[in-house]
Amino acid sequence: MGKYSVIGKRVPRIDAKEKVMGQAKYAADYSLADMLWCKVARAPFAHAKILNIDTSKAERLPGVKAVITGKDFNGWTWGFMATTRDEPPLAVDKVRYLHEGVAAVAAIDEDIAEEACELIKVDYEELPGVFDPEEAMKPGAPVIHAYRPNNVSVEYHWNFGDVEKAFAESYLIREDRFETGRVVTGFLEPPASLAYYDPSGYITVWPAKQSPYFHYRHLAGCFRLPLSKIRVIQPYIGGGFGGTKNDSVAGDLCTVMLSKKTGKPVKFIYTMQEVLTTCRRRHNMTIYNKMGMTKDGILTAVESRVIGHGGAYTAIGPLTMFLTGYGTPVPYKLPNYKYDCWRVFTNNPVSAAMRGHGFTHTRFACDAQMGMMAEELGIDPVEIKMRNAIDNPKPGEVYKAVTGFKVKTCGIKEALKAVTEDTIWADRDKMPRQEGPVSYGVGLSGTAYHGGARQLGHQSCAATIRICEDGTVNLITGATDCGQGSDTVLAMIAAEELGVRYEDISIKRVDTAYTPVDPGSYGSRVTLLAGQATQFAARDAKKQLLEAGAKAWKVKPDDIEIRNAVVSLKTNPEKQMSFEKLTKIACYEGAGAVILGRGHSDYGIDEPLDFDHGTGEGGINFSFTAQTVRLGVDMETGKIDVHDFIIAHDAGVPLHPVSVESQNEGGAIQGLGQAIYECFVMEKGKTHNSTLLDYKMPRSTDVPDIKVIDIITNDPDGPFGAKEASEGSHVSTPPAVIDALHSATGVWFKELPVTPEKIVKALKEQGKWMK
């Protein structure tokens, strides 16, 4: 890292001052003169036919300017790909989940808009609902979508190697049922947008989106306008984590339609209750996992049958189910693998993507099951992981998984070594095991995640570098920093490549009228793909600058170097000029010039994803994470106190160590919530815990001490060797917590979250409850 001037340095975040000083403007902070407010009227049934909607009373309410229903959208529906676009902005013929939008109002203030929603009279014919996916798959179950009469939204059946033969030859086979929780992302900023449909036919929106170019395409499709007439201006984003902010919500489309009808700007802000009852949530999954091993604990086969609780619409579910199976062959060598999955429609709110997308389910099941088998075989839990872990390929070589994807660098063994040499694991037997009713345990996990998500040319991205004549630099990308720190990292990459100071870079937020198209923030792709585009753009600009400098000094461009904003001659370092002077020469000499550098990502995808067969490359490279957890369990009340996380994460090369650490910490804390706190309490489609008071996320006082250890593998396919950092620790935390709970209580818990009630129940069943 010593060879770099900026990369690897602990610089302050580029947007820190604006955020700390309260100067950053979020979607809800924007307003325009004569602006109206939008509210969505929602259904009181989870499954019902819409017989009639009477909006006349609402329209007559003073202050109401327009009312729309689903029919205003002329049958337009949206979804992740052409075959699954089944979701309308507002329900038209029937509602499929409780509180689905059926109409929307624009009024002069929020209160009037809300009152008008209550005046909309909808005649429904309630239909029987189905809320459990396994019930929904049975013949005769209520049908949610006519195009899927069996309620199976998507299903895949993959088979690699010879699973039956491998099981027949295995020394030990285990079959377990696991379940992951129904959880929400937990962003602080709810969905919001200000929209203006210009009467001349242009749409401008200021929405809270972590992937604004999806919304841009949705608006073009919904309003049948060319993309050039859609302008999305990106405010600061208050957290994303996938799902809702990677998609459009009813309010997004209704505000534009209401603006079109009224000719005025229209704004909406969802309440947190709307977020918790109607927005995207993670698929909870039931995983029937069968694992085989030799007597020495070597993996022979895994067979996973997974049922994904899909909710009312498809959304991004096909990719979720793909990734759930895709992640099983890493980070352990797996020679035989079978995966059968079904994503099932129910009358619950829609399930979609979330941090740790897909991988989090099956990695939890496989890692926990591996621990159980180590116990049965009498093999040390570290040893069994090390025996199966993928080796770090030598430079130029690759590890090819049974499904065909390739791994070029793998730090899992080094990560496992690092966390188990740390005192939390190494000295675990020296620490007290029992203090009063509290039993202590230390657990271990080793997992992986995929970064740089990309498919075909449609998810390419670009960057432009504009050199200003005062020596400062504008970096223009379509990438979105939704809080993860990517603007900082992209600015660091630009500074390093150009040879200027980090503080000389100014990065522009997305404005689709000017910034290049970019897929958005998901799949841990921004640092890798927008980072590479930035790298190329900076090199292009630098080439032009060096040519101008070479002309001025009468040398070759290669004779000149730029470092820390100082330009010098390689053969005579005393000969110098400032970067600012070089930019003036480049911009003003002769006929003058405008120095623009441009680049686009070109990390290839060898093979596109084949959803039906489980093959293909979903992105660029894999991160690897090992984690230990130390916790205490009150054996009377079941209360858990988590004391320590040690996380060793292979992010290739940490470009901005502060961001790598904070992303690992954030991912792990969110994973802790899913391991022991969070879950929607549902009954017949109703979300009972629809406030953040009742939906329990970890608070600052629940957060353990966290130590992050960097594992350096220097990947050939990441800018400056980088891989993802954030989703990996989210995936590694639940299995490490489960292992620690087993260590403390002697019980293997297989359903997330492991709440105190579940602990007490299990302790009672096993005669371990301490009264």
Partner: protein, 113 residues
């Protein structure tokens, strides 16, 4: 020209061209129940085959322009004939199909986690 080539494939009866049945293999990256893995058709064009395959699917409204009735493939499906994108074929969607050709339909994903 195309007519002449196609006539070589078929039998010629009194100056009239008779077309052969051709088998086309179809690869998909995601399940679409209405689209089989192979079809036997009278020789025709890539565009005609796509029209026949896609117009009756449950997602037809996504790929048929409501005004013109034409197929809309951009941003929805990547179409390849024997591994070559239809944009790269000299005759594009008018390319004549031959026995044993492979059509690959890749769903384009507009979205991410």
């Amino acid at each position: 020209m195309l007519w002449a080539i196609r006539c070589e494939i078929g039998a010629i009866w009194s100056g009239r061209c008779e077309f052969q049945q051709v088998k086309i293999y179809i690869n998909k990256t995601v399940q679409v129940p209405e689209i089989p893995s192979e079809v036997e058709i009278e020789s025709g064009t890539l565009g005609k085959l796509l029209d026949d395959l896609l117009r009756t699917t449950y997602f037809a409204k996504e790929i048929i322009d409501p005004d013109t009735g034409d197929l809309l493939l951009d941003g929805l499906l990547r179409v390849q004939l024997n591994g070559v994108s239809h944009y790269g074929l000299p005759n594009g969607l008018d390319s004549v199909l031959h026995d044993g050709d492979t059509l690959t339909l890749t769903l384009i994903l507009l979205g991410g986690g």
